[in-house]
């Protein structure tokens, strides 16, 4: 079993989830539940201490981004280590996030 640690820091209208360790098939539910608990408009996933992410992790982030986008909320994925960025870029994750952004409803919350 891989290890994942999630620490939560709430600011005004933003929650920062700092993920450390390895995000994979075995622990994506842990991060999903933590994200679903948050109610702020913006949720930031700080990946600076993340060592590994598999395709299930990428799938989770895209799925959450899609749901938040429909709610006119924002998922930001920040400080992605280079090797993880490379893998996400090959899958096309950033292109998909851009397409969500372009389709985001205006106004609202």
């Amino acid at each position: 079993m891989s290890g994942l640690e999630v620490s939560v820091n709430r600011e005004k209208d933003r929650t920062i989830l700092r993920v450390a360790g390895e995000l994979d098939f075995s622990n994506i539910n842990q991060l999903q539940q933590e994200i679903e608990r948050q109610e702020t408009k913006t949720i930031e996933i700080d990946c600076s201490a993340l060592q590994f992410m598999d395709s299930s992790g990428a799938g989770l982030l895209l799925s959450i981004a899609r749901v938040l986008n429909q709610q006119n909320r924002i998922l930001e994925i920040t400080h992605i280590p280079e090797h993880i960025y490379h893998d996400l870029d090959i899958i096309g994750v950033f292109r998909v996030l851009e397409s969500f952004k372009a389709s985001r409803p205006t106004g609202g919350n």
Partner: protein, 233 residues
């Protein structure tokens, strides 16, 4: 569990090219797959894919996607049209299941010895000629993430006799040894270059043996799949 439980091997000689592949699931079954699809006497399609996740759920989506790939390939269409149709049919199913899949398609035509490739979120193939290697310039969004396929134009390479093209899934280059180090693309390139005189089956087995030496046959967390294509001399 044995490291290679559920291991699948296939080989083919068609249209002047030899193909050999192997897929080793991390669990009893997995989401990786590969296939060789002969079209007429002059064309060979090779495909490699990786469905998100692991185990039986990923394997179920993989089988559905494989069936769609075979149907689309059977229509003998240009590679880009084939990828668009696969995304249209398979992508919808994957989206509904909140999943996605990466896919790399290769088309080899014997009459002009040209190999064409396209990728949907999959690591680009490596081409080896003499003592040189290059990563083919193909990139696209994985199947199921967008309604229509978005990616680069196909990349084309002319194969000289003896040239090798290698396809792999991320589980191969991300396989780890006991110290947590990954096998890596560089080691994969080096072992291939050093043994490119071998036939496709020998080269496949040489690479896998090198992988097992590196990992110490440690159980891996992701499926490992490798496909070799080699033009006959």
């Amino acid at each position: 569990m044995a490291l290679d439980a559920g291991r699948i091997e296939k080989q083919i000689i068609h249209a002047g090219i030899q193909g050999a592949g192997c897929s080793i699931p991390a669990e009893v079954e997995g989401g990786d797959f590969f296939d060789f699809i002969p079209l007429g006497k002059e064309r060979l399609i090779a495909v490699i894919g990786d469905v998100m996740g692991k185990g039986s759920r990923a394997a179920r989506h993989m089988k559905d996607l494989r069936a769609i790939v075979h149907t689309c390939a059977g229509n003998n269409m240009p590679l880009l049209t084939m990828m668009e149709q696969i995304n249209e049919r398979g992508g919808k199913q994957l989206r509904l299941a909140r999943s996605f899949a990466t896919l790399c398609l290769i088309s080899y035509e014997m009459y002009n010895a040209r190999l064409i490739s396209l990728s949907a979120g999959h690591p680009a193939p490596l081409a080896f000629s003499g003592n040189k290697s290059r990563i083919l310039r193909v990139k696209g969004v994985a199947l199921g993430l967008l309604e229509s396929y978005q990616g680069t134009e196909p990349d084309t390479v002319s194969l000289a006799p003896g040239d090798v093209v290698l396809l792999y899934t991320d589980g191969l280059v991300e396989a780890r040894n006991g110290q947590g180090q990954t096998y890596g693309l560089k080691r994969l390139e080096n072992i291939t270059l050093a043994n490119s005189c071998q036939n496709a089956i020998q080269l496949r087995d040489t690479i896998l043996n090198d992988l097992f030496t590196f990992t110490g046959r440690k159980q891996q967390r992701d499926d490992v799949t490798l496909v070799i294509l080699k033009r006959g001399r």
